[in-house]
Amino acid sequence: MGIYTVLMPDVGEGIAEAELAEWLVQVGDKVREDDVLGVIMTDKAAVEVPSSVSGVVTWLGGEAGDTIAIGAALIKLEIEGDGNAEETVGEQTQTGNTLISAESESAATPAEPATRPVQELTLSVASRPVAPRRGEGEKPLASPAVRKRALEEGVDLRQVSGSGPAGRISHEDLDNFFSYAPVAPEKSTRGQNTDVSEIKVIGMRRKIAEKMALSKSRIPHITIVEEVDVNNLEELRAKLNQKHAGERPKLTVLPFMMRAIVEAVREHPEMNAHYDDESGVIYQYGGVHVGIAAQTPAGLTVPVTRHAEALNPWEAATEVSRLAAAARDGKASLDELSGSTITITSLGPLGALVTTPIINHPEVAIVGINKMNIRPVWDGQQFQPRKMMNISCSFDHRVIDGWDAAVFVQKIKSLLETPALLFVEA
């Protein structure tokens, strides 16, 4: 009879320890060769540990949830014939649990008979050190010459990372520190900042960049800015919000703008279209699918409110906020992010006086909403304080003439200034 020790297997390059997820055997259990003894977790996967021998479990190297070093004793079996370890070996390697690293050789071949002296085995467990980060309060490691140079150059070696063995700081590390270290603040409080950060344009940002370049390079934009007196609209909005407070979603300007676009498009269907400039075809759409530019942590997205012509203001408001939230959380489906036929862009309170919106290719028109504020307006006899808001609209000048664009903008303006018109069936 002998004791056979199964070691924590080497589960992958660079992995020094693994969590024991589950035992499938108990002390006293009989196991046969290839039976699964337990399951260990690495940060990548769960790995089953099979037995390479048949025998009876006599010792478990930990409880589920324990983290055990690669190469440490995991389980011991009593087997027929000679084991692979003296009893003391097991105890020694057990203390190895606390060591982070292990000889991969002994881990990779657990069946190798351990006839080596006890002490040598324990030492070999510690023979591949990982360089720990410098602990708190630990002195940086550097030769006297490096220390002296750092002192004379006014460098605190604690701020320098060492590339040498055991984290030793070399002259080269100091050189590197000098070439990258920020200028010491006491030397020049307003020094020139020569930092250049390299940021790869990838993913979402690359998509946005490509889309903007496409729109701006292919489409000759004409932008028309008009100011809108929104006193009546704001009055109506306030009344509706007050009336349905708590029952219905709060209305912003957006649902009204969407409605105005729907009404204006009725007279100017050429605005609600896609221009396929490669095949020279314009597709005019019956349904008004309004893209609304939204800022998300990852960048600009344009979720689409479909069939705005079929929605009342509250339905539109609900849909817009649902889509905005989905886009912000990165949960919007591809379907919800494509297929718009005309787009609204608004920077909200940052809306500025005037913008020059870029058309969402292959659409032909975009409506930009600027900031609302109170301005003095001459009513013929005196200045009146009026709530005014600019709208900045861009059009694809290849297919939309300036005249038509201006008429469209005027239509939107008049609809917004007399909001009752928005709800009167033509």
Partner: protein, 461 residues
């Protein structure tokens, strides 16, 4: 005498003071160093150097005297020693070094003034010398007044009760020598005297001799003392003396009378701060020592302290390093005490070298370590020199194998201290030393093997 002023005034021309003065003068700092005795301090006059001379003479004598049972087949008549001549030779070395230090000071343009100094205030010192009294004012002042042997209560130095200074100036070898204190000073002198024919008894208050070291290290020394016929009484205190006898009492209350012609009291050293007029300054003390920061600055601006007056380790090479640093600071350079550790050597037989952390001190500091110990018994060179006792031991961090300490005990290991010091100060890992070819056959191979052993790959054991 005319009053003087300078940029740097160093009080005391011991190893710390003279190094400080030389370095400062080299850097163009106008420097004066004041010394009441001969330059060189305790180390050169009544410490390291004369004791090593005595130890060497004793070793040579003992080697020939014990040839009788030599396995080398050498036969010689029993030697005799003309101790007066030995002392003359020893004094010759000390004189040569005195002159050497004075010349070095002169060559570097530092001015050596003979006299005893006393502070008037933080910028002025009154020097009482052979030519009269003069006042020296300086921008910076370094206190490097050293230390003196501590006395034992009830047994002041005088008559048969002698200090280490007296012991090194004896005209003849005492027949029976009692050594109070089993530290390195007592054991170095005691061993030498035993080799020269004295019947030596060592009285140590603690559990064992050389209490700062662990038992592995002290064991070869204790064993050899026994072979030399030195009686070691531990857990025993000296209680008094009368003519030709030392009275001692052991921890269990047993009183013994030890016949002794001379009683060497070597129970430590006291900083020499009493006659410098420190009361005129507002310095903070740490026990009897002057408190300093990591630039050897005292509590007073412009007043530095170096060497034994600043406490442990009271070793010449620490004082020298401090002196050099202070000189450069005074010269306007950026310096800070950033040494990783200070080596300590005991010229016992066998010798002990201690550098950095021992396994025990690492444990006390909560550092997880691996150690490797290589015995000279397995070293070819040690065998050919008939001295196989002792070992080299290396202590390294378990996680990254950074060498934290190296200790060795064995014949001539003091000369290995350079390798030990360099390894620790440069931040070597076990693999660095194990991967360095060490010349064969030398005792230094023991260091490489100890590191290999710590890595689990020793070849010769």
């Amino acid at each position: 005498m005319a009053d003087l002023s300078c940029r740097l005034l160093v009080i005391g021309a011991g190893p710390g003071g003279y190094v400080c003065a030389i370095r400062a003068a080299q850097l163009g700092v106008e420097t004066i160093v004041v010394e009441a005795e001969k330059p060189g301090g305790t180390c050169l006059n009544v410490g390291c150097i004369p004791s090593k001379a005595l130890i060497h003479a004793a070793d040579e004598f003992h080697r020939i005297a014990s040839l009788g049972d030599s396995p080398l087949g050498i036969v010689s008549a029993q030697p005799t020693i003309n101790f007066a001549k030995t002392v003359e030779w020893k004094d010759g070395i000390v004189n040569r070094l005195n002159t050497g230090v004075a010349e070095l000071l002169k060559k570097s343009n530092a001015r050596l003034i003979s006299g005893s100094a006393r502070f008037l205030d933080g910028k002025r010192v009154e020097v009482n010398g052979p030519g009269g009294v003069q006042i020296i004012s300086a921008e910076a002042i370094v206190i490097a007044t050293g230390s003196k042997p501590s006395e034992l209560d009830g047994m002041p130095f005088g008559g048969d009760v002698i200090s280490s200074t007296d012991a090194l100036a004896l005209a003849e070898v005492p027949k029976r020598l009692a050594v109070v204190g089993g530290g390195y000073i007592g054991l170095e002198i005691g061993t030498a005297m035993a080799k020269l024919g004295a019947k030596v008894t060592v009285i140590e208050f603690g559990e064992k001799i050389l209490p700062q070291y662990d038992k592995d290290i002290t064991q070869p020394v204790a064993k050899h003392l026994q072979q030399l016929g030195v009686e070691v009484m531990t857990r025993t205190a000296a209680k008094g003396h009368k003519a030709g006898t030392l009275l001692v009492e052991s921890a269990d209350g047993r009183k013994t009378e030890i016949p002794a012609d001379k009683i060497l009291v070597a129970v430590g050293r006291t900083p020499r701060t009493d006659r410098v007029g420190l009361a005129e300054l507002s310095l903070t003390l740490q026990g009897p020592f002057i408190e300093i920061d990591d630039k050897c600055q005292t509590f007073m601006r412009g007043v530095y302290a170096i060497g034994d007056v600043t406490g442990d380790a009271m070793l010449a090479h620490r004082a020298m390093a401090q002196g050099e640093m202070v000189a450069e600071l005074v010269a306007g350079r950026s310096r800070v005490w950033d040494k990783r550790c200070i080596p300590a050597v005991c010229f016992t037989d066998p010798e002990i070298v201690d550098y950095g952390l021992s396994p025990l001190s690492a444990e006390q500091q909560g550092i997880d370590v691996v150690t490797g110990q290589f015995p000279f018994k397995a070293n070819g060179r040690a065998m050919t020199m008939e001295n196989e006792s002792g070992f080299v031991r290396v202590v390294a961090r378990a996680d990254n194998h950074l060498v934290l300490g190296i200790q060795a005990v064995g014949a001539g290991v003091s000369e290995l201290s350079a390798a030990f010091a360099l390894a620790v100060e440069m931040g070597a890992r076990l693999e660095d030393i194990a991967g360095t070819i060490h010349a064969h056959p030398t005792q230094s191979e023991g260091l490489q093997e100890a590191c290999m052993k710590a890595l689990g790959q020793a070849l010769h054991i």
